[in-house]
Symmetry: C3
Subunit: 494 residues, 3 copies
C-alpha cells in the first residue's frame, strides 16, 4: 500500500492561494481593464455600424484575428494539455493542471502585459490581447513540461505567477525596447519558457526524481499524447503568424507549414536511425516533429523562401531527436538536470536555433528582396524621422519612422535579445526554484511523483475479471506460475 | 452472465422510426426549404461576383459566420459527445447517440425554426440557420445529459423530436415576441434543455437508476471526457457571440473568455475545498469549469466590463461545484431527481444565474454607456416609429424603430422570459417523460442501464495475458489468493 | 514469444529512403518554389498595405482560405489519423504513419502539382496550394486505409511517392483538360485514392492477411477512432467548399451539412437493421456516417437544393453500410480483395455515386436556375470567345470565355472523368502493388501484421496487479481455473 499524503499537510492551501489571487485579479481588472475601441459599444466607429449595411461589422478586427486566435487557444489547452498525458499515471494532472495554469495565467498576463502598455492609465483588451495572453500561457506551460509530475499544484501556481512577471518584462525589453523581430515568439516564449523551467528544475532537483517506474507511458496514454502533438503541429502556422499583417502573415503560414513537414519526415528518419532495432520511438514522434515550428518561429515572416524553411525544419528535427537520445540523458547524469517532457529538445535548443536563423535572415534583409515590406518586418530599419530617405517613401506610402538600422545592426539586436532572454530566464528560473523550496508550498514526497493518486480523486481501476488458464508448469509447481494466461470473461461485471 | 435484452423486443423499431422521420424530413425539405440569397447562384448579387475581382466573394456572409459556426459545431459533436464518455461502459452510447441525436435534430430544427420564420412561404437556409440548428441541438443534448445511460435510443429520438417543437416555440416567444436579449442562449438553450431533461428524468425515475456500479468512470474514460470539456471551454466564446454583429461579437468573445478563465480557477479552488483530503474531483473539473460560459451567456454582449464577466464566472463556478457536491445528492434523495451528468449544475442553475445577470445588466443599460449601440443589443429599446427621438438619430444613423422600452422594462422582460422558459421546459418535459413511458418505446431493464453491451456490438475486451507470480500466502493456501501479482507477457497475444 | 523481425533486414532503410527524398525535395524547392504574390514582401500590392490603414491586410487571400484550410488540415491529420486507430494493436502505426505519410506527401504534391501549373518556370505557393497539397495527401491516406496494418512504412513511402504522380496527372487531365466540376474532389481524391489502394491491395494480397485476431478493435480503440470520425464529419463542409468562391462556397457548405446529417441518421437506421440482435455496429458509425460527404462532393456547389443533398446522403449511408455488411466480405472471399478500413465502402462506391450525381446535376444546369453563376460552377459552359452570347454578358459582367458546352456535353465530360479516374487509379495502383513486392521493401511477415510491436518501441503494458479470488472449482482442481475473478489492488504499483 502506498503511503498517501497526510491531508493536513496541504489542507486548504490550494483553495486559499487561488481565492486570493482570483480576488486580486478581480480588483485589478475592475480598476484597470476596459474594452478596446473595437469592442466598446459607445465607440463612435461602432455606432456607425447601422449606417452602412453591416460592412463595418466585417471590418471589426475580431474577424481578422479570431480564427487564428482559436487555433492558438486549441494549442494551449488541447495541445499542451494532451501532449503531457503520455505519463501513465499522470493524465489528470497533465491535462488538469495545464487547464488551471493556463486559465490562471491568461488573467495575470492580461494585467502584466497591460501594465507595460497602458493607454491613458487603462488596459484595453480585445482579441489581440487575448492572443498575447495565450502566448504568455504557452511560456508557463513549457516550464511546466520541464517539471511535469515533480511539483505540487501549489508550486505550479506560484511558478506561473512569478514567471509571467519576468516573461512580460523580457518581452517588453526584447520586442519593444530593442525592436527585435520574433513573430512566432521562439525566443520570448519558447526559449524563455524552456530555460526558466529547466533552471527551476535544476534548483529543485532531487535524487528521487530519477528511475521511477511511473515516469513512462502505456499504450493508450501515448495515443492521448498524440492528440496533443497533432493539434500542436497542425495549428503551429497560426501560432507563428497570428499577429502579423497581410502578406507577412501569409508568408509565416507558408514557412511554418513547410518547416513542419520537413521536420516531421526528418524526425521519423532520425528516430529510426538512433533507436535500437531501428524502431520508431513515440517520444520523438510526439515531440521532435514539432521542433520545426519552434525553429522557424523567429524568421517565419521573413523572406527565407520555402526551401529555407525546410532546411530549418530538417535541422530542428535532427537536433531534437539527438537531444532526446543523447543530450537529455547526458544532462541528467552529469548536471542533474531532470526534464520530464524534454522541453530542452522541443523548445530550448530549437528556440536557440530559431534565434540564430532569425539573425541570419535579418542580416540579409534589404529592400531589394523585401520592397518596403522590409519596414513591416523590421520597423527599426525604417529611416529616421525627417530623413530624406523617409520623405522619399512618404511620397507614395505611409510608413512610420524607424531607427535607420542596417541589416547587420538588426541581426546584432536579434542576438542580443537571445542572450538577454537566456539570462533573464535562467536567473529568474533559478530564483523561482529557490522560492518553490519553501516548505509551505508542499514539495512532493517520492511516492507522490508522477502520480495522480494523491491529489486527485482517481476512479477505481477498470476491474478485469479474467479466466486463468493454467499450463502444465503451473500444475506441476505452485512456486512459479509464470506463463499462466487468462482471458477476460466478458459478461461478468466489468 | 448478464441477461441480454431479448432481440425481439426492439426488433426493427429504431430503424423504422428513423426511416419514417427521415422521409418526413425529406418531403418537408423538398416542399419548403430553399437556398438563402447568399447561397443562391441566380441571386443577382452573386451574378455580380465576376465583375469586381472576387471582392464580393469575401463579402458573402459565410465568411463572417463560418469560423464561429465550426467552433459551435465542434462543441456540439465533439464537446457534448466526449464530455459524456466519462461513464466507464457507455462510451459508445455517449458519443454515438450524441452524434445521431444531433444529426437528427439539426434537420428537424431547420424545419421547426423555419416554419416560425417563413419567407414567402419558404424556409431560406444558410450559415445562420445552420448555427441556430446547431444551437437547437445543444438544448436536446443537454436534456440527453440528464438522462444519459437510462433511456433507449428510441426514447431519445422521440424526446428530441418533441423537445424541438417546444424549444422553437419558447425561443420564438422569448426572443421574438418579447424581444429578450440572450445572445448566448443561456435561457433559451441551457435553461430550457436542462429543465426539460430534468422534468423528463423525474417522471421516468426508477429505483434501479441509483447505485449502479456502472454509473462511474475509469481512468481513461475520464481522459476522454476531458477532450469534450476542453473543446467546450475553448470554443464557448464562439457559442456566445456567433450571431452578434461587429463590436457586440467582439465584446461577447472577451466577456466569455474572462468569465471562463475565472470560473476555471474558481472551480479548482472550490473542488479542492469540498473534496475529502482536499483532492480534486474530475467531475467538477469536467463540468463546473464550463459554468462560467453558461452564466455569462445572456449578458455576454452587454457592457458588463471584463471584471463583471469575471465575477459571474466566479459565482458560476462556485455554484456549480456546490451543486455537484450537495444539491444533486439532495435532489436525488429527497425528490428522486436523477441527473446523470449533473446538467442542473452545469446548465440549469448557471443558466438561471445568467438570466438574472442579464436582467441586472439590462436594467443599467443606457445610451450613456452604450451609445446608439444600445439598440443593437436591445432592439426594443429603440424609440418608437415616427417619434422625435427616432428622427434625431436617423439624421446621422440608420436604426430600426423599436418599442421605446426603458431599461427597467427591458429588465422585466428578461425575467419574464426566464419564467416562461422554465414553465414551458418543465411542463413539456414532464409530458414528454410520460410519453416516453409508453411500453413500445423500450424502457431499459436494470441490467441495461449505463451499458453499451445490449445495444452495441461491443468488441471483445482487451485480453490481458498475465504472468501470475504466486506469493507465499498462495502457496500455503489456495483459499485466498489476494495479493497475487501478475505481469503482462508482452509478446504473447494481446 | 512472438518472433521479432530481425533488425538487419530493415536496418537503416527507412532512414535512408526518407533522407534521400527529403534532400530531393529540398533541392527541387530551392530551384522551383517561390512565394505567390500574396505572400511576397516585395510584391507591389503588399507595399501598399501601409497606405490604407490595414484594409489590404484583410484582403489578403489568406483570410478567405485559411479557416477552411485549417479544417481540412484537421481532417487530414486528426481525422484520417485517428479514424484508423480502431485496430487494437496498431494505434501508433495508424496515427504515426498517417502523420509521416501526409507530411511527406504535402511536400511532394506541392512539387508535382506545381510542375503542372508552372508560372514563368516557377511554382508559386500560398494558401491555395497548401489546400491542394492537403487534398493530395487525402488520396494517399485513403489508399493507406485499404492497406492498413499490412504493409511496411517503407512500402507506404514508396506508394505515396508513386501515387502522387498519377494522382496529379489524373486531376490535371480531369479538372484541367476536360474541365470537369468536382469541387469536393470526390472523383479525383476519393475514387482515385480508394481504387488505387484497392488495386495495390489486390496485387499484394496474401493469405495471412485474413483471420488475424489483431484485425479488430477494443473498447477504447473504438473511442479513439470516433475522434477521427467526428472531426471528419464536422469539417467535411470545408473540404467540399474550400476552393469555391462566394455563393458557390456557401452552397457547398449547406449541401454537405445536410447530406451528412441525413447520412448519419440513415447509417444508424441501416446499421441497426443489418446487425444481429439489431445492435449498432461501430464500424458503420465510424465510417458510413461520412459517406454522405463523399457522395455530395462532386455536386456540392451545384443547385441541387438541400433536399437533393439529403437524398444523396440517404443513398450513400445505405450503400456504405450494405458495403461493410455484404460487399466487403464478398470481395474478400471471391476476389481476395482485402480492405482493412473498408475504403471501398466509405470512399470508393460513394465516390462513384458522387460522380453520377454530379453528372445528373450537370445535365440539368442552365442559366434559368443558375443565372450567370452557371459559368462559375462550369467554366466550360461559358460562351466561346468573341461569340455574340459572350459579348451580351460582357456588357454587364466580367466572365471568361469558355467552350460553349451544353448541359448534356458537360454531363458527358463528368462521366468521362470518372471512367478515366477509375482506369488510371486501378492500373497505376496495380503497377504500384507490383513495385511494392520488391523484396528490399520489407513485406511484412504474418506475425508483423496489424501490430505496432515490431516497428515501434511499444511501452510496457499497463501492469495490472490483481487480487485473484479463487472459486470452488479452482480449489478442487488446478486443471481448470476458469472463472477466477480478480480485483485490482488500487494502491499497489500500477
Amino acid at each position: 500500500m502506498a503511503q498517501t499524503v497526510e491531508p493536513k499537510r496541504r489542507r486548504g492551501k490550494l483553495t486559499l492561494v487561488l481565492v486570493i489571487f482570483q480576488i486580486i485579479f478581480l480588483v485589478l481588472f475592475g480598476i484597470f481593464v476596459e474594452y478596446g475601441e473595437d469592442s466598446d459599444a459607445k465607440a463612435e466607429q461602432n455606432n456607425l455600424e447601422h449606417g452602412n449595411g453591416g460592412a463595418d461589422a466585417m471590418d471589426n478586427r475580431l474577424g481578422y484575428y479570431y480564427p487564428m486566435f482559436q487555433d492558438v487557444h486549441v494549442m494551449i489547452f488541447i495541445g499542451f494539455g494532451f501532449l503531457m498525458t503520455f505519463l501513465k499515471r499522470y493524465g489528470f494532472g497533465s491535462v488538469g493542471y495545464n487547464f488551471l495554469l493556463a486559465a490562471f495565467v491568461i488573467q495575470w498576463a492580461t494585467l502584466m502585459q497591460g501594465f507595460l502598455h497602458l493607454h491613458h492609465g487603462k488596459i484595453q483588451v480585445g482579441v489581440e490581447t487575448m492572443l498575447t495572453s495565450d502566448f504568455a500561457a504557452a511560456a508557463v506551460l513549457i516550464s511546466f513540461g520541464a517539471l511535469l509530475g515533480k511539483v505540487s499544484h501549489l508550486q505550479l501556481i506560484i511558478l506561473g505567477f512569478v514567471e509571467i512577471i519576468f516573461f512580460s518584462v523580457n518581452e517588453y525589453v526584447g520586442a519593444g525596447y530593442f525592436q527585435t523581430a520574433d513573430v512566432g515568439g521562439s525566443m520570448f516564449v519558447h526559449v524563455f519558457g524552456a530555460y526558466f523551467g529547466l533552471a527551476a528544475s535544476r534548483v529543485l532537483n532531487k535524487k528521487s526524481w530519477e528511475g521511477s517506474s511511473k515516469e513512462g507511458s502505456v499504450y493508450h496514454s501515448d495515443l492521448f499524447a498524440m492528440i496533443g502533438t497533432v493539434f500542436l503541429w497542425m495549428f503551429w502556422p497560426s501560432f507563428n503568424s497570428a499577429l502579423a499583417p497581410g502578406d507577412d502573415q501569409h508568408r509565416a503560414v507558408i514557412n511554418t507549414y513547410y518547416a513542419l513537414a520537413s521536420c516531421c519526415v526528418t524526425t521519423f528518419a532520425v528516430s529510426a536511425m538512433v533507436s535500437k532495432e531501428n524502431k520508431l520511438d513515440m517520444v520523438h514522434i510526439q515531440n521532435s516533429t514539432l521542433a520545426g515550428g519552434v525553429a522557424v518561429g523567429t524568421c517565419a515572416n521573413m523572406m527565407i523562401q520555402p526551401w529555407g524553411a525546410m532546411v530549418i525544419g530538417v535541422v530542428a528535427g535532427t537536433l531534437s531527436v539527438v537531444g532526446y537520445k543523447w543530450i537529455s540523458p547526458f544532462l541528467l547524469s552529469k548536471v542533474h538536470l531532470h526534464d520530464t517532457c524534454g522541453v530542452n529538445n522541443l523548445h530550448g535548443m530549437p528556440g536557440i536555433l530559431a534565434a540564430i536563423a532569425g539573425a541570419i535572415a535579418a542580416a540579409t534583409a534589404e529592400t531589394s528582396n523585401y520592397g518596403y515590406g522590409l519596414y513591416e518586418v523590421f520597423p527599426a530599419r525604417a529611416p529616421l524621422v525627417n530623413s530624406t530617405a523617409l520623405d522619399t517613401i512618404l511620397d507614395d506610402f505611409t510608413v512610420d519612422a524607424g531607427s535607420g538600422r542596417t541589416a547587420g545592426m538588426q541581426a546584432g539586436f536579434q542576438l542580443v535579445a537571445l542572450v538577454i532572454t537566456l539570462a533573464i530566464a535562467i536567473i529568474s528560473g533559478m530564483l523561482t526554484g529557490l522560492l518553490l523550496k519553501i516548505p509551505i508550498l508542499d514539495q512532493l514526497t517520492p511516492d507522490e511523483l508522477y502520480d495522480d493518486n494523491n491529489f486527485w480523486e482517481v476512479p477505481e481501476e477498470d476491474t478485469h475479471y479474467v479466466k486463468v488458464q493454467v499450463d502444465d508448469q503451473m500444475k506441476g509447481s505452485m512456486d512459479e506460475l509464470n506463463g499462466a494466461t487468462n482471458k477476460t470473461e466478458k459478461d461478468t461485471k466489468m
